[in-house]
């Protein structure tokens, strides 16, 4: 049996919270200065909510430029936009964690890297075993790394983590696949990529995973997506420990505090009514800058209160349009190969997976999406996706900077205008 202070497994903590009817809430938080990082973790732990801690890494560490991270540390570290876990000596990170992580407070490392081998080794060295990402979701939206290189990197990285499977705290890997580009990617695609990356992790030996989905423009469609993800997880991830994590809206965010809280509360309600166990929150500062520790704590507590006020949902259409679409995409990918990584590569090469507005050279770029009058995110053009072609709108028109901005700011407008009347 674990000693009282032994760090708890990430998956086990979330599952115990679910059994107690509590939504787990989590910030995205990282600071260059170790003392501030420690203060942030302690404040997250002390928040009046079921919380897990986050160490978000800085952008230099994310792209593997540890020399730049070391230069920034030498200059005081304050200009870093996250914690440089590779560039800092392990003993300094152990000091950050000492007395903070424990049996009631697991900590996840968030990074955004398409080649996280160094990051995974560094976090394991200090006894952390929960992290996130994915071969597609940390490659296509964010950088220049070829998808084939990212898949190879993620095979290796997943296996580095999985080498510790079966030991406490049990390694946990979350897919970021439900957040592709943050906005304007139809939910069926988000659910499919999330499921496929989760399957990739399990096939490479990770026993505890979480599947992500990011809040989009329609609460009804979001509930449908979370339920679809749960059903597909049950069908494809049998034997693994899994849960669903919802991300509060990742696109252009309301600029008023009231508008920001309105989106956050909606996300918390979606979790409870559709059955997501964990929520990544966003703060009132989101539209403006990196949030303070206090703003993060307020967001965690706002989300927790909204979740407590929402009755758990039941039912929902198991054969929803989102489920059918995601299922067709997943099956279309897995037909390419028994190896999930190879299947993903071939699917993108054939345009059987295709992300709207993604600039990466390995994305086919034949699909288009739009927000319909009811706020649903839909396909305007399905390109080569294994989905029925959509009836084209009368005049889809050219995408202009003005109408792109208007589409991107749909949620900002909607939630800020409620406030402004």
């Amino acid at each position: 049996m674990n000693s009282p202070s032994a760090p708890v497994s990430f998956g086990a903590f979330v599952s115990a919270s679910r059994d107690r009817g509590r939504l787990v809430v989590q910030p995205r938080m990282g600071f260059g200065d170790p003392e501030r990082m420690r203060t942030g973790l302690a404040a997250t732990r002390a928040a009046r909510a079921a919380t897990v801690g986050t160490i978000t890494l800085d952008s230099y560490t994310r792209v593997g430029d540890h020399a730049a991270a070391r230069r920034a540390i030498a200059a005081g570290g304050a200009a870093l936009n996250g914690y440089p876990i590779v560039a800092r000596p392990a003993r300094e990170t152990l000091d950050v964690l000492a007395g903070v992580r424990g049996h009631r407070f697991p900590v996840q490392v968030r990074h955004g890297s398409a080649g996280p081998q160094d990051i995974f080794r560094a976090l394991l060295e200090v006894g952390l075993t929960a992290t996130e990402g994915g071969p597609v979701s940390y490659c296509l939206p964010y950088g220049r790394t070829p998808l084939s290189v990212s898949v190879a990197n993620w095979r290796e990285s997943t296996e580095i983590l999985a080498a510790h499977s079966g030991t406490e705290p049990e390694p946990h890997l979350e897919t970021f696949g439900g957040c592709m580009l943050g906005q304007l990617c139809p939910p069926g695609m988000l659910v499919a990529i999330s499921l496929l990356e989760g399957l990739f992790f399990v096939r490479h030996g990770v026993r505890s995973v979480s599947l992500s989905y990011a809040q989009q423009t329609s609460p009804e469609q979001d509930r449908e997506a979370v339920r679809a993800l749960r059903r597909l997880a049950g069908e494809f991830l049998a034997g693994a420990d899994w849960h669903v994590v919802l991300y509060t809206y990742m696109g252009l965010y309301p600029r008023t505090p009231e508008g920001a809280r309105s989106v956050l509360r909606q996300a918390a309600r979606t979790c409870v009514s559709a059955g997501a166990e964990r929520l990544i929150v966003k703060t009132e500062a989101e539209a403006h800058r990196i949030p303070t520790i206090g703003e993060n704590v307020r967001a965690l507590e706002t989300a927790a209160r909204a979740a407590e006020a929402e009755p758990p949902g039941t039912g929902g259409d198991p054969d929803s349009e989102t489920y059918a679409e995601a299922r067709a995409l997943v099956e279309g990918v897995l037909e390419h190969s028994d190896d999930v990584g190879d299947a993903l590569l071939r699917a993108f090469a054939h345009g059987h997976l295709d992300i709207p507005f993604c600039l990466h050279p390995d994305n086919a770029g034949r699909v288009r999406s739009y927000i319909d009058d009811a706020g649903y995110l839909r396909w305007a053009d399905t390109g080569a996706l294994p989905l029925p072609p959509v009836a084209r709108r009368a005049d889809p028109g050219a995408v202009t900077s003005a109408n792109l901005l208007s589409t991107l700011s749909y949620m900002e407008r909607r939630h800020d205008s409620r406030v402004r009347g």
């Binding site: 952008s59 230099y60 430029d65 730049a68 936009n81 955004g112 939206p141 696109g251 403006h288 800058r289």
Partner: protein, 150 residues
């Protein structure tokens, strides 16, 4: 980088405008938006995308002899990354005196302090734009510097 839209705007058939993220910045919506805005102003855009290493940035600016270079960053590292990029470009032979501008959320506090914007100008940028200041950027595009270079 591939085209993201089926643009129907008449674009200049002459020299290109290079649009670039910074080495540490993974954001792309700012680049998608700026590509459209530049195309609407008649520019033929080479969008280098996110996470552009300094060496690639300089090489693309050297080989493509652009009429204008636009750097965009929203991750808070834009000040430091931007300084490094412009110094590398201004030091590189064969890049002439191409106009280079930068904009976005350039500091971890969001808006950049005035003296830091001055540093960027002193290092060789021709203009520094605040986050969301599309009007000022559009005015700049129709102004004498860009027209003289085209």
């Amino acid at each position: 980088m591939r085209s993201i839209t089926q643009s129907t705007f008449p674009v200049d058939s002459g020299s290109v405008t290079v649009l670039s993220g910074t080495s540490s910045d993974s954001h792309t919506w700012n680049l998608v938006f700026l590509q459209l805005l530049l195309e609407e102003a008649g520019h033929r855009v080479v969008n280098l995308g996110p996470c552009v290493p300094d060496r690639l940035f300089v090489e693309e600016c050297r080989t493509r002899t652009p009429r204008l270079v636009v750097v965009s960053s929203v991750n808070g590292h834009g000040y430091g990354d931007g300084l490094r990029m412009i110094r590398a470009l201004r030091d590189a032979p064969g890049t002439g005196r191409v106009p280079v501008v930068i904009g976005g959320k350039l500091g971890v506090g969001g808006t950049l302090e005035d003296e830091r914007a001055e540093d960027l100008l002193a290092a060789g940028y021709d203009a520094v734009f605040a986050d969301g200041d599309t009007d000022a950027f559009t005015v700049y595009l129709s102004g004498p510097v860009v027209r003289a270079a085209s």
